[in-house]
């Protein structure tokens, strides 16, 4: 059906010098929209789910007035934010002030180009997929810096410096986690990484094709470091001192109003989804079912369930832990996570050359 649709479109746009240009561009735009629309919906409803789950954990109601069970709350929020006045400080840098939020959200969405939703379901099945994700998410920090600088406010600038230092620091620990995963997978291709987890050579293959065979168990320290780095990299609780509610007020987005602020908000939630789905793909077996007999349920449903669980864990963490101090955050990233990942890198390297290698 997809092929028929593609050929039909090819026919529709044929006839001139523009044939080779227009339809491939339009076709790819269609594919991007098909991926991004559900993603934006998921981002919007994650805000509702966060409030509901926090309410449940703190034994109170979440939002429950707008629509049935409060389901229209994200839409109401969006309408409210859209109708708010957009204010730009007089001395702010004109173009960059509006570029900031865009630079924050664009990488969080662009990285989805290599995320596989099934064995053959990705916008681009790139060989260097993991590296591409790292490259794209490393641009995310510019949104923060540009926003902080362009606001022409000391508070915003300080917030931007703190935020970007934190994001860059945890990117290093995350990079080492990626490195260990691609060492055991022998590939940077996301599909290969998932397929490599279905082999289950450990324990004489007793647990092959069950959730024990996935990467999270043999690489448990790396999995934990990745999850915590992910929380820190997305500036989520308990690492949300970026906003510095006690010292500086609301960080790099302090001068933004209405949709500008909302874009930063959406960027945070979009990167939460991204970090979660990467955790699922690298450590939790992607679209693989936890037991082989559950094969009849389509892979993308498993992927969705797992990602949803990981995202909910972010909210669980927020409901549970007290906030870290800024120097504690930097210490954790540099002096604990980087040595731990480095040591585990060497351990896995030796393990892979020993007779007990389980990643053939």
């Amino acid at each position: 059906m997809i092929d028929a649709f593609y050929n039909g479109g090819l026919h529709l746009f044929s006839g001139g010098w523009w044939t080779g240009v227009t339809w491939p561009v339009v076709w790819n735009l269609i594919k991007i929209v098909v991926v991004l629309l559900p993603l934006m919906g998921a981002v919007a409803y994650l805000t509702l789910w966060e409030r509901k789950l926090l309410g449940f954990m703190q034994v109170r109601h979440g939002p429950n007035r707008t629509g049935p069970w409060g389901l229209l709350q994200p839409i109401a929020d969006a309408v409210k934010l859209l109708t708010k006045e957009i204010i730009r400080p007089t001395a702010a840098s004109k173009g960059l002030f509006f570029l900031g939020p865009l630079m924050a959200i664009m990488p969080a969405l662009a990285a989805w180009v290599v995320i596989p939703f099934g064995p053959d379901m990705a916008l681009a099945n790139v060989n260097a997929g993991l590296l591409l994700v790292m490259a794209i998410t490393s641009i995310e920090v510019y949104g923060v810096i540009i926003a902080g600088w362009a606001s022409n406010s000391k508070y915003a600038f300080l917030g931007a410096l703190r935020a970007s230092a934190q994001m860059v620091s945890y990117e290093i620990a995350m990079g080492f986690c990626f490195l260990v995963v691609l060492m055991v997978s022998g590939s940077m291709n996301m599909t290969d990484i998932v397929m490599g987890q279905s082999k289950g050579v450990a324990f004489g293959g007793v647990f092959a094709e069950t959730f024990v065979a996935w990467n999270w168990l043999p690489l448990l320290p790396i999995f934990v470091v990745y999850l915590i780095s992910g929380v820190a990299e997305t500036n989520r609780h308990p690492f949300d001192v970026v906003e510095g509610e006690a010292e500086i007020v609301a960080g790099h987005m302090v001068e933004y109003s209405g949709m500008g602020f909302a874009t930063f908000f959406l960027a945070e939630y979009a990167s939460m989804w991204l970090v979660s789905i990467l955790a699922v793909i690298m450590f939790l077996g992607g679209w693989l079912p936890p037991f082989a007999f559950l094969d009849f349920i389509p892979g993308w449903i498993w992927l969705g369930i797992k990602t949803f669980v990981v995202v909910s864990m972010f909210i669980w963490i927020r409901a549970t832990f007290p906030r870290f101090r800024y120097d504690q955050i930097m210490r954790l990233g540099w002096k604990i996570f980087i040595p731990v990942t480095l040591v585990w890198l060497i351990v896995v390297g030796i393990w892979m050359h020993s007779p007990w290698n389980i990643w053939h």
Partner: protein, 223 residues
């Protein structure tokens, strides 16, 4: 004309424009941001050349790491644009001369191999040692070359970078005697008994016997 040509012209135009703006932008921060844009467009052109790994490495290393530091430094500099622009016309002839010389040298090097043969084409498939046709992977070829022929240079570069990182961490490990900093691991390890002492008290105290002396003194004035 296909998609690639269109994208090439788009990347090339934006790259030329932003490269020009790097040196003409009045605000140094804007100049740095235009430099970033130039890098990203160059990565796009490399992608079109099917050098995916190099393009991604350019974005990862230069855009994601080096330029962030650059941007930090430039943002915090106190640059007066007026004083920078002084003597522009006086130095222009010399600058033009040096620029022309560099262009000439580059032209001499580059034009030797320019348009003399066919455009280089990246092969889709190649034959391996056994004579079988396999999918050609740019990244794989680069990796094979780096880890065989150029193993020592890449190992040295990697170790140097690792040392730089470990050193940066080690520099923060110094202790000052008069520092009032709190050690987080000590903080975490604290027990309730360190902060709070619980004293056992009997739930109800027996009534104290009233001392006869005190009774005597209070009652004395009445008498």
């Amino acid at each position: 004309m296909d998609v690639k040509t269109g994208f090439f012209y788009m990347f090339a135009l934006v790259m030329l424009f932003s490269a020009f703006r790097v040196i003409t932008a009045r605000n140094p921060v804007h100049a740095v941001l235009f430099l970033m844009l130039t890098f990203s467009q160059a990565a796009g052109v490399w992608l079109l050349l099917k050098a995916e790994f190099l393009a991604i490495a350019l974005v990862l290393v230069y855009l994601g790491a080096v330029m962030v530091l650059f941007l930090f430094v430039v943002m915090m500099l106190d640059i007066h644009i007026d004083s920078l622009r002084q003597g522009f016309w006086r130095h222009l002839p010399l600058a033009l001369g040096i620029g022309g010389l560099i262009s000439l040298e580059m032209a001499m090097v580059l034009f030797g191999g320019f348009r003399t043969g066919d455009a280089p084409v990246v092969p889709e498939t190649v034959a391996n040692a056994a004579g079988q046709v396999v999918q050609y992977s740019n990244t794989k070829a680069l990796g094979t070359l780096l880890y065989t022929h150029y193993l020592y240079p890449i190992e040295i570069a990697a170790v140097l970078l690792l040392i730089a990182m470990v050193t940066a961490i080690a520099l923060t490990l110094r202790e000052r005697k008069d520092s009032k900093k709190i050690d987080p691991s000590m903080q975490v390890r604290v027990r309730a008994s360190d902060r709070l002492e619980l004293i056992k008290l009997a739930p109800t105290q027996a009534p104290q016997p009233v001392e006869p002396e005190a009774e005597a003194t209070t009652e004395e004035p009445k008498k």
